[in-house]
């Protein structure tokens, strides 16, 4: 018995063909080229845009912060610079007062200034001048003044304040400070040489090591006014701040730029860190999206392959069913005997599920000119096996009829025949011997449903007690019954597919059949056509075979 469940993936026995679609479809997935999905691309673009925005924001915040910090630092430097003015002015002013008081005593001047002059002290060179045109200093401590020292005596510099004198275009450039108590007394002049390149680092002042600077004399930032700087090239590029610092009677201009990052290296790097992390996250997200999309595509491809395999199975299944059906039609009689006074009709309706063909069969055998034997049966199971078993049983019946057409005898011999063989089936068989002229039928049933007798007005099932089906190993005795038939009557024999319905008492199906046959008979319809239309269209699940015999008089 072959399983007729249509959901079965592959019918047994087709394994060799089954592998073919799987093999051919296996090539397609590898042949595809990788192509990024739209979702992944969109993800990357969006991720990069967000990253760029965050990165620019961080950069802007950082720059703003740096500028603010730099302003604070400039003010600090201003304060420090301004604070150095008194340390210069106080000794010079004291010396000037001493000179005025002592009438320009050189020895006293020298002994007063010596502690302030020398390497590591406030001054490099300090000299005392008599105002009013002296060409030489009254006294000098430390290195001799290099630049236009005579001008100190001749220029009328502002008394009572620290005068700044830059000699920047001189071959030995210097920065000088002058102080005089009154324009008629003495002036004290200090001078510090400047490096010709103006390069210098702030001496030991590590609090400002994070800054580059340039100091100009006056308010302009002309290269000719440059006093000192920590860098090779000026002006500063990038972030820088400038401020003016009053110093004595003059002014310095201070320009400052950060060496590194004032707010800390981390905040300087933050925009780049955000950029790097953002790009990585975007790429990772895109990769994941891509993998998901790829997985989805693969699932779709797989589903497509399964559909192809299913279609292939379906094709093979239908093919096999067609083989079985062809075989069965070949096994059923294609011509029926012509018997005077009798009209014979047959019909075979396959199961609507389209599954395997069943083992239903019928035969109408002419015994002599006045007698026919009607045989109808149903071999258990479906498919090729049932069809071939049916053929075997059918031909055995043909042989036994030739010996003795009595129905009980035929069934008994058939039972013997089957019992002697190894088999795995059962068959219900109904044999009806029809004597046309005598209007008599003789029946025997091996587990088969009784036939319906229509007598022109009414319809009834022939009263018949069934014996066990063919194929059962215990010896069964078959009984036969004879019934008289009125003129014009019709006998309808059928298989169980016509009346069996799920969850329904068999009697209900039999009664339905009886009613339909009776109304069809009254309307003068073709009985088998009516039964096929009404009883094999909807809920029936099995093959159905029908044979009708009508007495024409």
């Amino acid at each position: 018995m072959t399983d007729a469940q249509p959901a079965a993936v592959t019918p047994a026995g087709t394994d060799s063909q089954d592998t073919e679609p799987a093999r051919s479809s296996g090539r397609t997935p590898q042949a595809r080229r990788w192509r990024p999905s739209g979702a992944a691309l969109l993800g990357v673009v969006l991720g990069l845009i967000v990253t760029a925005a965050l990165s620019l924001t961080a950069l802007s915040v950082y720059n703003h912060n740096e500028r603010r910090l730099l302003k604070l630092r400039v003010h600090e430097v201003d304060l420090v610079l301004a604070a150095t003015a008194p340390t210069i002015q106080t000794p010079l002013a004291s010396a000037a007062e001493l000179a005025d008081a002592t009438g320009g005593n050189a020895a006293k001047f020298s002994s007063f200034m010596v502690p302030f002059v020398g390497p590591g002290r406030e001054f490099t060179s300090v000299s005392l001048w008599k105002l009013g045109g002296a060409k030489r200093p009254v006294a000098s401590v430390g290195v001799a003044p290099a630049n236009a020292a005579n001008r100190v005596a001749t220029l009328a510099l502002r008394p009572g304040s620290l005068n700044v004198m830059g000699e920047l275009s001189s071959p030995r450039p210097s920065l000088g400070f002058e102080y005089n108590g009154s324009s008629k007394g003495y002036a004290v002049y200090s001078e510090d040489p400047l490096p010709s390149s103006r390069r210098s680092s702030l001496q030991g002042n590590s609090a400002f090591a994070d800054l580059n600077y340039a100091v100009y004399l006056g308010r302009a930032q002309r290269p000719s006014d440059l006093l000192l700087t920590s860098v090779k090239e000026l002006p500063f590029r990038g972030l820088h701040e400038s401020d003016t610092v009053p110093f004595g009677s003059g002014t310095f201009t201070l320009v400052v730029a950060p060496v590194g990052s004032l707010g800390g290296q981390f905040f300087k790097d933050l925009p780049w860190i955000i950029l790097g992390v953002g790009v990585l996250i975007s790429l990772a997200a895109a990769t994941m999206t891509e993998r998901l999309a790829f997985g989805r595509q693969r699932a779709l491809r797989l589903a497509g392959e399964l559909d192809r395999v299913a279609a292939e199975n379906r094709r093979m299944y239908i093919e096999q069913r067609d083989v079985s059906m062809t075989l069965q039609h070949a096994l059923l009689p294609d011509t029926l005997p012509e018997v005077p006074g009798l009209r014979v009709a047959t019909r075979y309706v396959p199961a609507p599920s389209g599954g395997d063909v069943g083992g239903d069969w019928y035969d109408v055998i002419a015994v002599d000119s006045n007698t026919v034997l009607l045989v109808i049966g149903d071999v258990s199971g479906h498919g090729l096996e049932a069809a071939t078993t049916m053929a075997l049983v059918r031909h055995a019946v043909l042989a036994y009829v030739a010996q003795d057409p009595a129905p009980a005898t035929v069934l008994g011999k058939l039972s013997e025949f089957v019992r002697g063989r190894t088999h795995d089936y059962f068959a219900t068989v109904l044999c009806v011997l029809v004597e046309v002229q005598a209007h008599r039928i003789t029946l025997a049933s091996a587990g088969h449903l009784p036939p319906l007798l229509l007598d022109g007005h009414d319809a009834r099932f022939v009263s018949l007690s069934a014996d066990p089906p063919i194929g059962f190993p215990t010896v069964a005795e078959y009984h036969q019954t004879s019934v008289s038939v009125p003129p014009g009557a019709t006998l309808v024999a059928f298989t169980d597919g016509l009346v069996e319905r799920r969850g329904e008492v068999l009697d209900v199906g039999l009664e339905r059949l009886r009613e339909i046959a009776r109304s069809g008979q009254r309307a003068g319809e073709d009985i088998l056509g009516r039964l096929a239309r009404d009883l094999t269209s909807d809920d029936h699940h099995d093959d159905t075979a029908m044979v009708s015999i009508r007495w024409q008089s």
Binding site: S353, G355, S380
Partner: protein, 109 residues
């Protein structure tokens, strides 16, 4: 594959247990037809392989049986010797009567 399965697939539940007497009881529920008769056939083969003295098909919840299902029960009867039907519903009782199987598949009193 829907076009191949116009009829709803029959659902069948099969349970087996042994009674104290040694009888093997196969309880069936649902519909038994050619679509699932093979499943029952395997169960019956496993049960009869242990040579129980009696096999009982408990059929109180079996709504429908067709010739394929009857054939499986008959097969059990040929293998074991005695098969009884317990509490068959009216449709099944009628099938057994009409097909002349009453003395092969005895209905339990």
């Amino acid at each position: 594959m829907a076009e191949l399965g116009d009829t709803k697939p029959a659902t069948l539940r099969i349970d087996t247990h042994a009674e104290e007497s040694g009888a093997a009881v196969i309880t069936l529920a649902g519909d038994l037809d050619m679509s699932n008769a093979d499943r029952l056939k395997e169960t019956v083969a496993a049960v009869t392989a242990e040579r129980p003295p009696l096999v009982i098909f408990s059929l109180a919840s079996l709504r429908f049986i067709d010739s394929a299902g009857i054939a499986v029960m008959l097969r059990a009867a040929t293998d074991v010797g005695e098969v009884r039907l317990r509490e068959p519903t009216a449709p099944i009782r009628r099938v057994v009567e009409l097909t002349g199987l009453g003395h092969v598949l005895q209905i339990e009193p």
